[in-house]
């Protein structure tokens, strides 16, 4: 059983604090992805778990053991680096077996485990090559092989796919997921790519400026973003954010958006807003669809006309660009038909799926999800 636990972990470089007292509990055999824009502290956090960076304050536990002061070699972890970090002067076989050799395992066992890992990752043909003689994808595979050979308690991945081309990245992503199913170790994975995060994670940890903004399953953070940052970071294309003000209309709270558009406050948020409050309405492009081109079964709907300026056809859907007031918005057209020039269409906005954030704090008016699933 290997949980990883971060309690009030702080990282400072001199006066500059880059990770601010974060708490995170990672369960046994869980796949946790740390995601955020560059400079958010996600890699630093991972490197603190690895022991490659000292922590300035707080506690890190792996299993039952506090590892604050332990060097990486005593933490029983393995790590896959962004630049693969293969040993350039060693063959693939030596690269894979190096950790075991250092740990003084008998040669027969090293060979057996190296062959096993090579089998899993399809490296059989490449065993006697040097890293310089491998392609990027192959190097990445060797780096992963080196990590699994040692059968560590925890795998750490530091943006392992960001140096690969798009096609290979998708392929390796699937392989990592398969690998996790197979070995079932605890995995902490860092990426800046929200698609990678969504597809791989059991739970996503979204970070910004050294704070954790939200922790939750991919669907949870998608369906209930804690704040406008998470809302815009998760999902592609990003969530539309429209500013407005809560008003009373015909005895029911409404939101007065820019551009003479007024929509009722969704039922579930009705008790969480006050008249006069400045709010941000979050609408995913999926929930802003032209009449007859949306998903069925979306509950309460508001309809209004918008003129479409640009359409980006993607085959099964088109992304439509328009404006509400001064805000550019994107909608999604399922079963698309060609849009020529500017065209005025009636859009359906599914009210039950909109998100409301307080304009001042950026927080979800419904409060935060608790971080479990």
């Amino acid at each position: 059983m290997t949980e990883v636990s971060l309690q009030q972990v702080v990282k400072r470089y001199g006066q500059l604090e880059v990770v601010h007292a974060i708490d995170l509990e990672i369960r046994h055999s869980e796949f946790v992805v740390l995601v955020g824009p560059s400079g958010c502290g996600k890699s630093t956090t991972l490197r603190m778990i690895a022991g490659l960076e000292e922590i300035s304050d707080g506690t890190i536990k792996i299993g039952d053991k506090v590892v604050n002061k332990l060097p990486p070699r005593d933490r029983n972890i393995s790590m896959v680096f962004q630049n693969y970090a293969l040993y350039p002067h060693m063959s693939v076989r030596e690269n894979l077996g190096f950790g075991l050799k250092i740990a003084k395992h008998p040669e027969s066992e090293i060979n057996k485990r190296v062959e096993e890992a090579a089998e899993i990752l399809g490296l059989g043909m490449l065993m006697d090559r040097l890293p310089a003689e491998l392609s990027g994808g192959q190097r990445q595979r060797v780096a992963m092989g080196r990590a699994i050979v040692r059968n560590p308690d925890v795998f750490l991945f530091d943006e392992p796919l960001s140096n690969l081309d798009a096609k290979l990245r998708v392929q390796m992503r699937t392989e990592i997921k398969k690998l996790h199913k197979r070995v079932n170790n605890t995995i902490v994975y860092v990426t800046h790519d929200q698609v990678e995060a969504m597809t791989l994670a059991d739970r996503i940890v979204i970070m910004r400026d050294g704070h954790i903004e939200q922790v939750g399953s991919p669907l949870k953070v998608f369906d209930h973003p804690n704040n406008t940052f998470v809302a815009s970071f998760i999902g592609s294309p990003p969530m539309n954010q429209l500013s407005g003000k809560v008003i009373e209309k015909e005895g029911v709270p409404h939101i007065d958006l820019e551009g003479n558009l007024t929509i009722p406050v969704p039922n579930r948020a009705r008790n969480h807003v006050q008249v006069g409050q400045q709010v941000i309405v979050g609408v995913r492009p999926d929930d802003l669809t032209p009449e007859g081109h949306g998903m069925s079964d979306v509950g309460e709907i508001v309809s209004f006309d918008l003129s479409v300026s640009i359409s980006e056809p993607l085959g099964t859907e088109s992304i439509l660009f328009s404006t509400i007031g001064n805000n550019e918005v994107q909608g999604k057209m399922l079963n698309p038909r060609p849009i020529e020039g500017e065209e005025r269409l009636t859009f359906n906005l599914s009210l039950d799926r909109t998100h409301l954030f307080d304009a001042e704090t950026g927080q979800n008016v419904l409060g935060h999800s608790d971080g479990s699933n």
């Binding site: 070699r73 970090a85 350039p88 250092i102 740990a103 040097l130 310089a132 003689e133 080196r146």
Partner: protein, 307 residues
């Protein structure tokens, strides 16, 4: 007339231009490099003595070579040169590595230190020889003076008089003068070294020594081979420091190949024999260069595979 214009036309044609322009340089190189080389090779087949120019025209075949191959003094000097070279280069490598690792660790004043480190190389080797001759002088030398003042010994240690000590003193001077070649090249290697494999090694279970031994050192070896190639050529032709410090003495105990060659060629005036020795010693240098170069080529296979 027509032949002359033909030549003229050819000389100024476009294809010929580069060669025509290079011609003066080529001629100069032929005169100053190739001709003396061939001439010295020829003289090694004659009993040429500088004092008797007519001996130049007497061809004796391989007799000079036969003589030196059976000459015990030559082989002693040869062996001593190889030993000297091996000791000096290995020590320079170790010290250079140590200095490079230390300088790599500091962040402030690194440039200044790098410059200061180069100082010994800026001095003329002859002056370095004189400086150490003074330092190791058994009566007035700094070394004995310091040892005696510190109470380590009350003897006057005969640094340059005892054969073994004199060889050590010369090695000391060589190492003092040229360790920075290793240091600077190894430092360049450390700067170029990617950090990721070091971190990967830490995660893979290495302690500091193992990381150095298995990752850093193999990465640095190509840089060391370059320095070793340069220094093996340098040391194999060591002359100035030896000549100023001991002159090959006492009783030939510090005689290296080139001091022996110079003595044979100029003091004994047997230029033919000296040239034969020189050609044998060049083979030694070629062998060393070839050895290190093979190592370097092998290492180049994996350089650049770290990213």
């Amino acid at each position: 007339m027509s032949v002359l214009t033909n030549i003229k036309r050819k000389m100024f044609s476009e294809q010929a231009t580069p060669y025509v322009l290079l011609l003066p340089a080529i001629i100069m190189i032929l005169i100053v490099v190739l001709f003396p080389l061939l001439f010295s090779l020829y003289t090694s087949f004659t009993p040429y003595k500088l004092t008797r120019p007519d001996t130049l025209w007497k061809f004796v075949g391989l007799r000079n070579y036969e003589r030196i191959f059976t000459d015990w003094d030559f082989w002693v000097a040869f062996g001593r040169t190889v030993l000297f070279l091996a000791i000096v280069i290995n020590l320079e490598f170790l010290f250079g590595l140590g200095i490079a690792l230390l300088i790599n660790r500091i962040t402030w004043g690194q440039r200044t230190l790098r410059t200061i480190m180069m100082f010994p190389m800026m001095f003329s080797p002859i002056l370095v020889g004189f400086q150490f001759k003074f330092i190791f002088n058994d009566n007035i030398g700094l070394m004995n003076n310091a040892l005696q003042s510190l109470g380590i010994t009350d003897q006057a240690i005969p640094w340059l008089v005892d054969g073994t000590l004199a060889m050590g003193a010369i090695a000391f001077a060589e190492i003092w003068m040229s360790t920075s070649i290793f240091a600077i090249l190894l430092l360049a290697g450390l700067f170029a070294m990617p950090k990721d494999p070091l971190e990967a090694a830490q995660v893979d279970g290495c302690n500091a020594w193992q990381t150095f031994r298995h990752i850093t050192l193999p990465y640095l070896m190509p840089f060391a081979y370059i320095a070793m190639t340069i220094r093996s050529l340098d040391v194999a032709r060591a002359y100035d420091v030896v000549d100023t410090m001991t002159g090959g003495g006492p009783a030939g105990r510090t005689e290296l190949l080139w001091t022996l060659i110079a003595r044979t060629g100029y003091d004994s005036a047997s230029m033919g024999k000296a040239n034969a020795m020189a050609y044998v010693s060049i083979l030694l240098s070629i062998a060393f260069t070839y050895f290190f170069y093979t190592k370097l080529v092998a290492a180049r296979r994996y350089m650049g595979g770290a990213q």
